[in-house]
Each structure stands twice: as structure tokens, then as C-alpha cells.
Amino acid sequence: MLHYIGKRLLQLIPVLLGMTFIVFMIIRAIPGNPAQVILGQLASKEAIEALEIKLGLNQPWYTQYFDYLVGLLKGDLGESMRTVQPVAKEIWPYLAATIELAFFAIIIAVIIGVNAGIISAWFQNSWFDYMAMVLALIGVSMPIFWLGLMEQWIFGVELQWLPTTGREEVRDPVNSITSLYIIDTIIQGRFDQLGTVLKHLILPGIALATIPMAIIARMTRSSMLEVMRADYVRTARAKGQKMFFVVYKHSLKNAIIPVLTVIGLQTGLLLGGAILTETIFGWPGIGRYIYEAISFRDYPVIQSGILVVAFIFIMINLFVDILYGLVDPRIKYD
């Protein structure tokens, strides 16, 4: 097992290296000059040149890339051109905000998606099955900005149930320690604030959960249908076991593996792909952080931001692969 994890971690190195190279080249291919963007519209040519020298942008690209790699090896993610802060220090609050939201969304997606998929498979071709699959289709194809604004309108403006944007009630701000507000409020025993923080998670969480929820539901359904045709299910039924046990105990264990894969991939996607949700819900997450860095041509932030997201994505998938072994002892790591 440890041997396997070690091997997987070693395999990470070429993947991440290749990725830094591709990202590095792509962002430099985008027209637009960081020095110009930083200095604003009134900048003079001389100043732009001076700043390029200061930022090292006048160096040939391979020198810049090499310097960046050397920095990475030292654990230095570079410095934001815009805020002049080390990216390593600056990135955490954004990452924390996204992790909190993505985790919340994936929990919703898994609970509802897996169960809807199971019930759909159990009662195949019933009205529930058809309805769930139609809803899943709608969920996958609904534009998130429309869904987000509708949610805000219905649950925020009309019903006044839930807050529409942001992470907290700013009139009573959370005293941030870890930047993970759920943990921060629990540590400080501010359970009133914990309630507020959770409330703020609901609408963006639902908006973000729709697509993975639909995908998980469909995956679970097809995977379950396959398993439920197996001999041991018939045997279990013949022995007079309750259907509920057959489905939730015997079938689910075997059906869950492909679903786990999907869950892993979707979690990774939520981390980087939440830009629209974060924009609509004013969520200060990493998607918007990278998006704004792209608008400002803040090269170090784009490079390192994408690197961090990719790293997490890969780690989640490694974690999922390890989970397989826990779920299915037949899977061997060697």
C-alpha cells in the first residue's frame, strides 16, 4: 500500500511539471502586457519597460520558466505582480473559501445523487425513475448563472429565507483563524455565527451541486442496474432477504466503485470550475482569484493558482483510488 502511494506520488512529478510548462506557455501566448495592466491607462512607455525589467518579463521565456521552476523547488510559488504578496501566503483564504463550498456541494450531490440513482435503479421504469432522470438532464444542462440568480430571487428576495451572496453576515463578521469559517466559528464557540455561515453556503452550494448531483445519479443508476442483474442478488432475494437490504447492503457495495470515480473527478472539477458560481454569489474563492489574475495578466498567480488546483485534483483522485481498496478487497495495489 505505502509502496503504491509512493509510486503514485512519484508519478505526480512529471505530470505537474508538464502542466506548469503548458500553463506557462499558454498564458504568455495571450496578448496583453502585465506591466501595462498594472500601471493602468495613463502609463508611459518608459515606465512599462522599467516595470518589465523589474518583473523579469524582458528575459527570454526559458530563463523565466527556469527561474519559476527553481522557485517552485524551494517551495516558492512566486509573488503576485498586482498585490506584491507571495502567492503561497495569499492563496490560502481563497482556497479555503472554495474548499468549504466545494465540500458542502459535493456532500449534497452525493447524498441526493446516490440515493436518487439507487431508487431509480430499484424501481426501474417507474414514474420516480423517469422524473429523476428528466431532472438530472435538466440539472446538467441548466446554465448556472440563470439558476443562481433564480435561487437568489426565490429564496432570498421573495421568501427571505436565505442570504444571497457572500460567506458571512458582514455586520457581524467572523473572526477568521483558519479561513475555513465553519471550523473558525466552532473553535470560537460562536454557534449563532456557524448557523449564518451554513446559511450562506446553501444557495451557492445547491447551484454548484446540480451538475455533479445529476452525473452521480445517472452513474449510480446504471451501475446499480448492472449489479442487480447479478446472480447473488437473485440468491439473496430467493433467501427471502428484504429488498432494502439487498439493495443497500449487497448491491451498493459492488456498484459504488464507478460512482466513487465520478465523485472524485467531480470534486476536482468543483475546485477549479466554480468561477461562475463564485461570481454570481460573490464568493471569494480560488476560481475568481485565478480568473481575476487572468484579467490582470498576473502571471505568477495564474501559474501557481492552476498548479495548486491541479495538485489537489490529483490528490483527490489518489485518495479515491485508495478508497477502492477499502470498498473492494479484490483490488490489489502493486
Binding site: Q36, Q41, A47, T164, G166, R171, P173
Partner: protein
């Protein structure tokens, strides 16, 4: 063994879900996040008056001298103060940290008398020495550190082009500025947000980190900055004007989406929203709990015609395009009528505006005739660049471009609309790669120089003169106007320049828009400023 793990994992998820559901359905709203429970900006946990101001983006830095973006100045304007202030809703010069200012006859020396008994938030005394240290800090900087210092005062210590030669203290409360040449808008520049006076103790200690926690003399003190999320400032109890500020706290929240920001206002999560779409103006007016604020216009939205690119190198073609476009229809449709149709490169509130200019009326026949005279009787094909982002001076670039496309088609010109991501758009336009492009400008200090010279002088080709317009005559007038201290004579020079520009038609000036804000009906004394930097020291709740 193993199967119990997966079950406990599932169980954990269910528990989490239950906790969440319990949290949402808990009836008591202790966070005042609905309008019904929210007694106007005060939470029921305290009697504090808190104003939450929602805007489109976060600040870049809170060191005003290092900023170039409006979102940064919106905050710093309330934390740090300038020697002179603009008027409440205009750009006339008023007292600030200086109570008197006297220019010499030749316009080369200015003597400022400072307000006494003022302290910075960190307890440092505000005096002549502090002012000198601030100007020294900027003069010894560079353009990437202090961009506005360079653009408004010509250059840094030792530069040939610099305007400010020396700043010296005479006693504790007198500061003397010596200039290398007279600068007509000098006092207006001094009143601009970037030249607010910071605590020398603080910026000497913080170095380049000063922008993370600014220290000034303003009515509010900096408290906390959660990047991309919120900036909190609180009442300065020691403020030199004991009547102000009225609010205990102001929170600036970054909410990028305009519709989401309006939803937040409707739920009471924020009290004031900047950047309201013109199309939402009526919604706000119809809502009893809200009021609409109009920011006095100090901008121009225009269609630039790059004079170095054929056929726009032909004056008749540029005039024809001016006649072809129905500006009034564009203002009615896309600015909801909340804009003035433009005929000059600057709005009518700016001193030196030439109202005798007739402007190009909508006259397709005349446009066709001019095109025929220029040798384009069958029209021509061109690219029309549409802005990808909404701006106060151009709420919807794509739609305006479509209207212009239709107008041009009516006179035989085929315009293909193109658009790029914003930074790319500006860079390409700056390189003169656009035939015709939509763009605009919001004034910094309410001076004519900040519009005409910045946008249409040959000195600024490759920076803000995107239309590559160059004319020696206007150049001479504009340079002369920069050092002319007699207001009458100076305005005359600008009026002449506007006549030449009108004839040359390097742009189609479209509109001077009135940007909208919306707020809680209980807000009083909020006066939006034309520069976009609003002072909140008088703002209160009923």
C-alpha cells in the same frame, strides 16, 4: 471491518446534512439578514450604525498613491484626507487638511496653511513636516509605485518633465510648493484621492506593505481587509470635526454580478449598491424601501475612429460616420435616457466646454453625400470593436455596437462587430489595430486637460489617444492651456481646440452617462461624487 468504514462514512454524511438542515430551519434570525428583521443597518446584537456598501470589485491596494482603480479610491477617500477637497458634488476646490492656499502672481509658488490639532489614526501629529515627507516619498518613487504622481505632476525628483520642484515646511503649519512651471490644474490635482496624506510613521514602518493597512487622518479608521470579499472601516473617534462621521462602521463588499448585487440590496444584506444597470433604475424607483442615487456625470463614451487606418484617414469619411449614427436613439435605448448626448470630448460641467459647437445631427443623407465625395459611394467594409465589459460610460458595448452597425448599414457601410477580452482589447486598440472601437473615459479631477489632452493629444498616442489623432494646432493650444493660470484665457484655448476637433471628427462622441446607485430609503446625506470616490463622513440613517 471494511464495510463498516463505508457505512460510517455514509452515516457521517447524513449527520452533516441534518445539522445543515437544522441550521437553516432554525426560526430565529440572529443575523439580521432579512429586510423585515433588519432595523436599517443596525443588527439586534448592538446599536451600531453599520453601512454595507456593495460594489463590483475589490480594491487593489489601500495606499492611494499606488492605486489607479476607482475601487481602491472609494475606500481610501474615507480613511485618508487630501490637503484640498473637491466640492460635495462638483470639482470646485474646498478646504481639506489645508485651510488656506495662496498661489503667487507667476503661478510658480503655492503657500498652504494647514489645519491645526489634527492627528493621524496612529497618534502621529499632522503637520507641515508630515506633508513634506509624503511628497518626498512620492517624488523619490517611480511610476510603477506612484503612477498618478507621474501623470499629474509630470515626473519624479530630477526628471526634466517634473512640475513640483520642491516642497518645504515653514514652521509647523505652513507648506510651500515651488513649481518648475505654472500648472493650471495644480490645485485640482492636489485634491485628487491619490495625493491623500498618510501617516509618515506608518509608511516608514510598513514600507511596501502600507497598502495593506493604511493610516490617515480621515473620518474612518481601517479595520480589516478580507481580500476579494470585504473591507471594513470604523468610526475615528478622534476625528478633527467632532460632528462627523455619523456612521460607526462601513463595510465595502465586492459583489461582481450586477443582478446579484441588486438582489442583495433587496434582501437588506447591503444598504447601498454601486453600478446599478440603467435598465434596473425603474425597478429601484418603484421599490418603496429603496431610493435611487444619480452620480453627476463626468465621463464620455465614444466611438473612436483610428485616423491612421484607411478609410478613416479621410476626414470626410469620419464626418460621414458622425452623421450616420443616431446618438439620441442609442441614449434612449441603452442608457434608458439617463445620459446626455455628447458633441464634445468632455461633459458640459467641465470649465472650458464649448457649447457653441453644433454637434453632428443624425442625417444619413448627408453621410451618403460625404461618403460619395470621399470616393466611397458604394460604402466600404470595416471592423467595429465592441467593449466586452460594462462600464459607467458604456453599460452595454455589444448592444450599442449593434445599433451602430445598423446605422452604418443604412449608409452603405458594412461593419463587422468584433470583441476581445478586456486587457487584450485595450492593448490592441492602443497599438492602433482597430478601425473603429467603442471606449470611454471617466475624469479624474474635473479639468479639461484631463479629457482633451489625455485623450486626443499627439503626446498620448500609444497610451490614451487610441484614435491616433494628431494635430499640431490643437497640440499647441493644449500645451499652452496647461500653463495658463488665467481661467478666462485658458477656457478660450480649450474652446478653440474643441472647434478643430469637431471639424476633424476623430471620434463619434456618443454620451455622457449618469451612473446610478441604489440604496436603502433610510439613508440620508449620501451625495455621490462625480469622480466616483464618495466621502461618507456625512452619511447617516434616518
Amino acid at each position: 471491518m471494511r464495510k463498516s468504514k463505508i457505512w460510517s462514512f455514509m452515516l457521517l454524511m447524513f449527520v452533516a446534512l441534518t445539522v445543515v438542515l437544522a441550521a437553516c430551519s432554525s426560526g430565529d434570525s440572529s443575523d439580521g439578514d432579512t429586510k423585515k428583521d433588519n432595523d436599517k443597518g443596525t443588527t439586534d446584537t448592538s446599536e451600531e450604525k453599520v453601512l454595507v456598501f456593495g460594489r463590483g470589485g475589490d480594491s487593489v491596494t489601500l495606499d492611494p498613491a499606488g492605486a489607479t482603480d476607482g475601487e481602491s479610491f472609494k475606500v481610501t477617500q474615507n480613511v485618508l484626507e487630501t490637503l484640498l477637497n473637491f466640492g460635495e458634488q462638483n470639482t470646485e476646490i474646498n478646504e481639506g487638511l489645508a485651510t488656506k492656499w495662496e498661489p503667487s502672481e507667476d503661478g510658480l509658488t503655492y503657500t498652504f496653511t494647514l489645519r491645526e490639532g489634527v492627528k493621524f489614526h496612529d497618534g502621529t501629529d499632522f503637520n507641515a513636516e508630515a506633508v513634506v515627507k509624503n511628497f518626498e516619498r512620492w517624488a523619490n518613487g517611480s511610476e510603477d509605485l506612484f503612477p498618478y504622481y507621474k501623470s499629474m505632476f509630470g515626473g519624479f525628483a530630477g526628471d526634466e518633465s517634473r512640475v513640483i520642484d520642491s516642497v518645504t515646511a515653514e514652521g509647523d503649519y505652513t507648506v510651500i510648493f515651488k513649481l518648475t512651471r505654472p500648472q493650471a490644474p495644480f490645485l485640482k490635482n492636489i485634491a485628487m484621492s491619490p495625493f491623500a496624506i498618510a501617516s509618515p510613521t506608518a509608511f516608514e514602518a510598513a514600507g511596501d506593505k502600507f497598502g495593506d493597512s493604511p493610516v490617515g487622518t480621515g473620518p474612518f479608521k481601517f479595520v480589516e481587509w478580507k481580500r476579494n470579499d470585504s473591507i471594513t472601516i470604523e468610526k475615528n473617534d478622534e476625528y478633527w470635526n467632532s460632528e462627523e462621521p455619523k456612521l460607526d462602521k462601513v463595510v465595502f463588499r465586492a459583489i461582481p454580478d450586477n443582478s446579484a448585487r441588486l438582489n442583495d440590496l433587496l434582501t437588506g444584506a447591503i444598504d447601498l449598491a454601486d453600478g446599478v444597470n440603467p435598465s434596473d433604475g425603474t425597478t429601484v424607483e418603484a421599490e418603496a424601501a429603496l431610493q435611487l442615487f444619480e452620480r453627476p456625470s463626468m465621463n464620455v463614451g465614444y466611438l473612436g475612429l483610428t485616423s491612421t487606418r484607411p478609410p478613416f484617414d479621410n476626414q470626410k469619411v469620419r464626418q460621414a460616420v458622425n452623421y450616420a449614427i443616431d446618438k439620441q436613439a442609442i441614449v434612449d435605448a441603452f442608457f434608458e435616457g439617463r445620459a446626455e448626448v455628447a458633441k464634445n470630448p468632455m461633459p458640459s460641467t467641465i470649465s472650458g466646454y464649448n457649447d457653441d459647437i453644433p454637434g453632428y445631427e443624425y442625417d444619413p443623407e448627408k453621410a451618403k453625400q460625404l461618403l460619395a465625395e470621399a470616393g466611397f459611394a458604394d460604402g466600404f467594409e470595416m471592423e467595429l470593436w465592441a467593449m466586452p465589459v460594462p462600464r459607467p460610460y458604456m453599460p452595454d458595448g455589444a448592444k450599442v455596437a449593434e445599433a451602430i452597425q445598423k446605422n452604418l448599414a443604412d449608409v452603405g457601410i458594412t461593419a463587422n462587430i468584433v470583441s476581445y477580452e478586456w486587457a487584450t482589447y485595450l492593448e490592441k486598440a492602443e497599438n492602433g489595430e482597430a478601425d473603429a472601437f467603442l471606449l470611454g473615459w471617466t475624469g479624474d479631477n474635473g479639468d479639461a486637460d484631463n479629457f482633451i489632452y489625455v485623450l486626443l493629444d499627439e503626446d498620448n498616442i500609444g497610451s490614451n489617444n487610441y484614435s491616433y489623432y494628431s494635430n499640431d494646432e490643437t497640440h499647441k493650444l493644449l500645451i499652452e492651456a496647461q500653463t495658463e493660470v488665467d481661467e478666462e484665457k485658458r477656457n478660450e484655448l480649450y474652446k478653440q481646440a474643441q472647434e478643430i476637433i469637431f471639424e476633424d471628427a476623430p471620434w463619434v462622441p456618443l454620451a455622457h452617462s449618469t451612473p446610478l446607485l441604489a440604496g436603502d430609503a433610510e439613508i440620508i446625506n449620501f451625495k455621490p461624487h462625480p469622480t466616483g470616490s464618495d466621502r461618507l463622513n456625512k452619511v447617516d440613517f434616518k
